[in-house]
Amino acid sequence: MRPANPWWRLVTVALVLLIGAGLYWATIKVNYQWRWDRVPDYLLMTGGEEVLAPMDGTVAVQGKQITLTPLLGGEPQRFPQIDVVQVSDGEIVFANNTLGKKAGITPGPLLVGLWVTLKISALSLVFALVLGLIAGLGRVSANPAARDMAAIYVELIRGTPLLVQMFIVYFFLGTVLDLSGFVAGVAALSVFTGAYVAEIVRSGIEGVSKGQMEAARSLGMSHWQAMRHVVLPQALKRSLPALAGQSINLVKDSSLVSIMALTDLTKAGREIVASTFSPFEVWFTVALMYLLLTGALSIYVRKLEKKMAHD
């Protein structure tokens, strides 16, 4: 094949710039006020962390320490190390009033949201892989009951929207079993992703030549021994690219947990937009943060693939 003309790259750059200019022109037309200077504050707060009063009470200030005596009686609460005190001695405050601020840099709402997204995704991935492996083995099992159960699971999950599954887990299971939003979110994402992992594992197993199982069985190995030592290692290696794609999907799908009173990256974005009316900057920033997560994942997987190709 002839090498492509390098000038095509310039065409790409020109097209991207053109699209960008078009978007910019469109925002000017709707009189949008860009305020990119505010965005760093959503990532890192230099103003320090606010300390709020947990209940109504009377304040006593001694230097940097605030003591709050509840109005309704009970033990007084101490708040040491308040760098900027914003109440005066003897003042009566109500719950959620600001007592003061602690100095230093604290993570902003978007970084806190990113951390929640990361935690949910990582936990869900572990559970989804375990669940998917079990269900995938069930799909190729000789036992009809295991085969049927795995098929029902996969079809049920793949045939319904994730958002609806989230509602069911959160509002139905969450209420019946008294689950927190975090647990419900991880459960819904694991079960959803597990069904796709099961299909990946199944096709990986089916892609291993039948002669491998035969050779292992002819040596006296049980079905499970042959699966574990001969078929699965080959199947999983073969499935790695598809599993990587699925884990990237998982990170993106995790944005739906924002319906569960869970402040993940998406929900953090929504909260900021609601209070600042700068939706464009916030959503672009949030998108970029997801892109960093998924990009890092795909770079890691590409490295892993290269390493395994050498083995």
Partner: protein, 254 residues
């Protein structure tokens, strides 16, 4: 070099009136009876689709049967209560496509089953595997993956892997059919050595020279039936049997 078999050696494999019909109605085997004595080398020849591989694979229950019985060392292989995993440890099998485990080295291929099935300690299994690889002439390839070995080398590793279970019988399913012509000799040489060591062997093959030189008995199958069996000299010298003559006329050089 054919070894003289004492005719009263004990029967190790006894296939009695074995038939196999597939659910779609195809008849793969029809009333096949075959006895193999301890220490005997039996070669099964015949046109493709004659049922010779199927018959071989019923001996270690890699294929089910519809009727009849296969008895190995006093155990009815296809009886419902038979522990197939146990039966298969006594019958080593070598496949046309080698079927080595590609994610393991030659040494690991040979060690795997003894460690996992027979619970042999890893060090002992390793020593035994090294000895077996040396026996098939591949001591220097122990650390190689199958993809780094030629077809002939892979098949020799596969033979070592089967031998590692210390089987009572070795079953060869067209062991040289997938090999480049120049690699056939090295595999047949290993098999010839194995026969000299006294191993009981059942070999499905197209290598008539090997059958003539090494087998104690040659079996001719056609259309799922065992048509004729005899000692090699008689087998290859028989001009009377119509179907055998026609088959040999096609496969032997003129």
């Amino acid at each position: 070099m054919t070894r003289n078999m004492s005719p009263d050696a004990e029967v190790l494999i006894d296939a009695r009136e074995v038939s196999k019909r597939y659910p779609n109605g195809t008849q793969a085997l029809t009333n096949v009876s075959l006895q193999v004595r301890r220490g005997e080398v039996v070669c099964i020849v015949g046109p493709s689709g004659s049922g010779k591989s199927t018959l071989l694979r019923t001996i270690n229950a890699m294929e089910t049967i519809s009727s009849g019985e296969v008895v190995m060392d006093g155990i009815s292989v296809h009886a419902p209560k038979t522990d197939l995993n146990e039966v298969r440890t006594h019958a080593g099998m070598v496949f046309q496509q080698f079927n080595l485990f590609p994610h393991k080295t030659a040494l690991e291929n040979v060690m795997l089953a003894p460690v996992q099935v027979l619970k042999v300690p890893a060090e002992e299994a390793r020593a035994r595997a090294e000895k077996l690889l040396a026996k098939v002439g591949l001591a220097d390839k122990a650390g190689n993956r199958p993809s780094q070995l030629s077809g002939g080398q892979q098949q020799r590793v596969a033979i070592a892997r089967a031998l590692a279970m210390q089987p009572r019988v070795m079953l060869f399913d067209e062991p040289t059919s997938a090999l480049d012509p120049e690699k056939v000799g090295e595999v047949l040489e290993v098999m010839r050595q194995l026969a000299l060591d006294g191993m009981t062997m059942v070999v499905v093959t197209h290598e008539m020279a090997f059958a003539r030189a090494v087998a104690n008995r040659v079996v001719f199958m056609e259309g799922g039936e065992l048509v004729y069996q005899d000692a090699p000299e008689a087998f290859f010298g028989n001009a009377q049997h119509e179907r055998l003559r026609s088959f040999l006329g096609q496969v032997l050089p003129h």
